[in-house]
Symmetry: C2
């Protein structure tokens, strides 16, 4: 295993060369060079056809740059990649990202073999790609994603890191993440994984202090054994959520042609994931629902869920979703039931606790406080139809106080238009995790309880 | 069976009395009366404590109104409901909505019995409720939903009608629907269903020319037999999608206390739904995903789905979701494969058809046209990562033309922030159905293909 520290140059280089840096707006070479300049890095443009690019001196090749280069980004046509890569390696560049496509994924194995040969010959230079989008780091601001800013937003800073074999899918997710309530630490799309692979990135993110949760889209691990061992070690320190593409015999074939690697059978991956403590997501939405819950809430001690609601039907639908995901409904202790009945004689004190349509913030406070204190409750879901007239804006601070100090996950679910969305945003800012759909919340809770159980059995790393 | 025409008075009355009409902003009696005035209906305020309400003459009771009343809305405390209802019935009011709660759903069976007795004695007056939100009709503008407009948006006009046993859940969904791309024809929340029940509403909507698709949230049918027979008849004319609340033994009990009716076992409902051609949804999101697809797209002839993509990983994830929902991937005919290979030698012509990251609108046009013409394709999914630089705004009209005349469902899926969302909205306006998550799209396709198969076997009504 190579030193994971070498991977750090991809995310936090002090100098960057962009090979194929361009003057033409909208091209990949233009956008990456502009991104790097914006990031405030020491940048070098490499383009033999220009003496200046975007106002900076342009070099005919990296061999002409007299300074140390930590990271080089190669954005030239595939046929020119081996030459550019060799020059980087001769210059002992620490990390190279090859964004160019046109290698083994489309059957051009001669070019791929040349790149592979160089990787073997110069092991000190770590190579990401080819056929990838590279990296985005919210903290160092390194950014090799090459979509126009008007087409792709960047998420806020956070503690979720995301690796994706697929560059386009990964970038789309990053763009979507910007509209969601969670923040991103690092993103890496590693494409054909000829050198740096999912295991290297997992290892690195496992020791990255700015990463709390790791999410991954994988089509296949380059080495199942290496991936398993790294994942097993890392998942004891921080959770890893994976969406596996190519789960079926038919889609495995498509995955093979997509990133040029044959993916293992679904049963093999199921076993690797289960035994290494990886949380498997079933869909894109679930991947991020689970990651969000892990990022924002404490791990539960068990899987018994209590529901509080001001809408009977909403409570029932949510309870059905929990049961469909094998999550038991909590049974409040007799003491809690008695206390809540005394405080709120009209409400239904069961599971769900139905505070009725005229519930005000005080009823919520009573119910949240009592349920969080109940030893039979591991996780609390608070359903709130905010369009009902008795819930006022001040409810929020009351909800906040009711929760204070409780070390159990609390999830607030509501659906609606502007009014409700604004409310949900405020609730997120107040430190709660919010969801719109009971089904998505139930699947996410299923994911984190499985991980909590795994840690309970296998022990958490010190 | 009573004449379903009588149900029409709930949705399209020429005169409306609001019993409990109020001067106090924010109260239910205020909002409903204001809504009805806004709708341009002939309105009568009933409130013995005022001579005028919101500028209109107020009557001490409906007995004092000398004019014909089609619809009365009762919004007074539960104990005053029987008296008000009896007066309406004496005046032969055609339809009465009792929004008040506090009946059998919270164990007040004496009041419920009084209401039940009146319903039996005066069968010509149809009663909706108690414990309901009533109706919203986008065309007649009748609106008894009582949430402040600032808290609840109203959706645009459309051809989807939605009935909900739960008023709060139903209203929340209506509010949410306003943020989605589909329109609503009629909404009814019928609460405890002491007279008008789900079967009556189904029957009415079945013959309503402004309703193309019926969606329902049910906790239990008042009469399983009546419901089955009506559903079976209606589903041959138009699709019915149902989300059943209380699917588990534990949630059945909660449902019983919520709307005061004991719900049948899950197996019984499964059988009723299957045999009557009802499409069952598993979650709120699915209920509306399926309804949207039914509203916007033709029914497919079979269930073979072809995917076209410009992102390999996105295609694989989507294919996995289809297979997980038992939907086979279409196999293009040799002629189609040959044609597309000639037009686009670099693209992967399989399922998914991968047009690669530099796909432009012309590649999409080729692929969409050829796949829609292929006899092995029943349904087409078009995945498009719009943040990739080669897809331009003009792509849209090209997509439109490529589809023209094809009688197969086409679904466009993309995820992202503003840029992508704007694009998706334009695509919806151009007549395509759009989704954000492959999983939701696959479940919705599963729903409509089951319905198409049911119709194929049982025959569609003339």
């Amino acid at each position: 295993m190579q030193n994971p520290a070498s991977i750090g140059y991809f995310f936090n280089p002090s100098s960057v060369a962009v090979i194929g840096a361009s003057e033409t707006k909208g091209t990949i070479g233009y956008t990456i060079f502009a991104n790097m300049k914006n990031a405030g890095k020491k940048v070098f443009a490499v383009n033999p056809n220009h003496s200046k690019v975007q106002g900076e001196r342009s070099y005919p090749s990296v061999l002409h740059i007299g300074k140390k280069i930590d990271l080089a980004v190669i954005a030239v046509p595939a046929r020119a990649v081996p030459g550019a890569l060799q020059e980087c390696m001769q210059r002992s560049v620490k990390a190279v990202i090859i964004v160019s496509s046109g290698f083994s994924e489309i059957g051009q194995s001669a070019l791929a073999q040349k790149v592979g040969g160089l990787i073997k010959k110069y092991p000190k230079t770590r190579v990401m790609g080819p056929n990838c989008v590279g990296v985005l780091d919210s903290y160092s601001r390194v950014d090799t994603t090459f979509f126009e800013r008007s087409r792709m937003r960047h998420p806020k800073k956070g503690s979720l890191s995301f690796i994706s074999q697929s560059g386009a899918l990964g970038s789309m997710i990053i763009d979507w993440a910007a509209t969601q309530q969670f923040g991103i630490s690092k993103f890496a799309s590693y494409g054909n994984a000829m050198d740096v692979d999912e295991a290297d990135l997992l290892e690195y993110l496992g020791s990255d202090p700015k990463t709390k949760v790791i999410a991954a889209y994988l089509e296949g691990a380059k080495s199942g054994r290496k991936f398993y061992e790294v994942a097993k070690r890392v998942s004891k320190k921080k959770p890893i959520v994976v969406l596996k593409g190519g789960k079926n015999e038919q889609t495995r074939i498509a995955a093979a042609s997509h990133t040029g690697s044959l993916t293992g059978s679904s049963q093999v991956y199921d076993a690797i994931f289960r035994q290494s403590g990886i949380i498997e997501a079933d869909d894109l939405l679930d991947l991020f629902s689970i990651a969000k819950l892990l990022e924002e809430e404490p791990l539960p001690k068990g899987n018994r869920v209590q529901i509080i609601t001001n809408g009977g039907g909403f409570g029932i639908v949510t309870a059905d979703q929990l049961l469909a995901n094998n999550l038991p409904l909590a049974r409040l202790t007799a003491g809690t039931v008695k206390k809540l009945r005394r405080q709120m004689p009209m409400a239904t004190i069961s599971n769900p606790v139905d505070l009725l349509g005229d519930a005000d913030a005080a009823r919520y406070r009573n119910a949240i406080g009592a349920c969080l204190a109940d030893k039979n409750v591991d996780i609390l879901i608070v359903l709130a139809l905010f369009n009902l007239p008795t819930l006022e804006a001040k409810s929020l601070s009351i909800l906040e106080k009711a929760r204070k100090g409780a070390k159990k996950p609390v999830i607030v679910i509501s659906i609606g238009s502007d009014y409700t969305q604004d409310y949900l945003e405020q609730i997120e800012k107040a430190g709660f995790t919010t969801f719109s759909y009971p089904g998505a919340a139930a699947r996410a809770i299923g994911g984190i309880t499985k991980y909590a159980r795994y840690l309970g059995k296998s022990g958490r790393a010190k």
